[in-house]
Amino acid sequence: MDWNFIIFSLVKIAIVVGVVQGLVAYSVLAERKISAWIQDRVGPNRTAPPFMKFVPGGQFLTRLGIFQPLADGLKFMFKEDFTPAGVKKIYFFLAPAVSVIPAMLTVAVIPFGSYLGAQKMVIADLNVGILYTFGIVSMGVYGIVLAGYAANSKYPMFGGIRSSAQMISYEISMGMSVIPVLLIVGNLNLSQIISWQSNHGWLVVYAPISFIIFMVASFAETNRTPFDLPEAETELVGGYHTEYGSMKFALFFLAEYSNMVSSSAMMVTLFFGGWTLPFWGLDHAATSLGLGIAQIFVFLAKMLFFMVVFIWVRWMFPRFRYDQLMDLGWRRFLPLALVNILITAVWLWLRS
């Protein structure tokens, strides 16, 4: 065993998990703020530790709601962890974990930077990165179904059933949409995909339809509006997590937002060149420390852009009806993805 490898991996895991958690917390804030702006409101702007009055700029940060996630987190932690009487206990306890773990695992293969010193900025540089991601993402549905089943209550059950059908349907179009990318690049390794993009330009130019399908499918996979049927508050009381409270509910929340983070990261990696930018020498693996850090920030910035798109779309669209959702998944996107594969394959064949 290479101790160096273990130590550096552990450090990377700790940092990445921390950053993802922070992103989750602050994307909840962003969600609230952006929704407020879109709806002509101001959003959370009061929460602050008492000494913030005396700190210069503290007032501005308070208005921005910077301390709101702390309060939210504390609230979740100090709430009573209530278990309703009728639930199936084992599954009820298992479900939040089962939905959080896959959500956190997806980030493992995503290259969030090129090199920092001699360290590759990816936790696990798998040769089957994309397959791994799809495998893990498809596990996310179990947590939701389990939660719906364990709650022993009608509406969570509905949410669970809806999500199982929805996520499984959209996984197919999601998987199909990535195949043209693989055809073009000829590699499943995400780092290789990024380095191909740094040489040839972003893949969104080569496979725009793939990108659109992937994006819509990832909205469906993460249960975001317009496909948030599993947690349609207006129809299902709350959705699959109706019977959950305190930290267990927070875990579902965490899972949803980490899924958002990881699918934004996937979109950036697959279609928008990952950590590369076509100028300022950021398009090739970093040789200096500063450049490496800059590339990490490039990656984060691109990812945050997609996070904002996720949130923005939520406050723009009404929810799809269930049959429309299924129709869109099976009868529109699946054929479109297949045709897309065919066209890409023919184009590549003609060019070779």
Partner: protein, 187 residues
């Protein structure tokens, strides 16, 4: 009878959802621009900003003093009697109690309490008062740390109430009565 309303079939362009998506983007962006850049916010940040109350707003009832800083209340207990939630409690001065501090009054209350937790701001006390000694004023956010604190006594009510000089009620009643002599009533 059931009527079937035929839906307009969508054109190919509309079926792509693209016009709707672009429309939605435009609307939400416009609103975000309005709030962020133009600062057109509908939120009223309550404790700092407050409503301008309309005249005739019925807030908390307070006792008032007359122009000579004397208690107007004569402890007739009409308000206590009329109060629907029984929020008012008046302790009369009794036979050998304190004299009224103004002329034209036989007595004044030894104690006058309004339980603001019970008060429903209905305004019956103001309406029934023959001396115009109690008025519903503009306060609406009454807070306290205990139930006891929310029972306002005479001193507190008088200090909060301020001063309303003269008794206009009978004059007003007279005007009302005169106005009602002719038909249609002009007020």
């Amino acid at each position: 009878m059931a009527v079937v309303v035929n839906r307009k079939s969508l054109t190919f362009w509309e079926k792509l959802y693209l016009p709707a998506i672009v429309g939605g983007l435009k609307v939400t962006l416009k609103h975000a621009y309005n709030t962020l850049i133009l600062r057109k916010v509908v939120t009223m940040e309550y404790p700092e900003q407050k409503w301008t109350l309309p005249t005739g707003y019925r807030g908390a009832p307070y006792l008032v003093k007359d122009q000579d800083n004397n208690t107007k209340c004569v402890s007739c207990q009409l308000c206590e009697f009329v109060c629907p939630p029984k929020a008012i409690r008046i302790t009369p001065p009794g036979e050998h109690g304190q004299q009224a501090d103004r002329t034209n009054a036989e007595k004044m209350p030894a104690e006058f309490e309004i339980n603001m937790l019970r008060c429903i701001f209905c305004g019956f006390c103001q309406e029934v008062c023959p001396e115009e000694a109690i008025f519903l004023q503009q306060d609406y956010s009454l807070t306290g740390l205990s139930r006891g604190e929310m029972i306002y006594n005479k001193e507190k009510l008088l200090s909060l109430g301020g001063e309303v000089g003269g008794i206009q009620k009978w004059k007003n009643k007279l005007d009302e009565a005169k106005a009602q002599e002719s038909f249609p009533v002009k007020l």
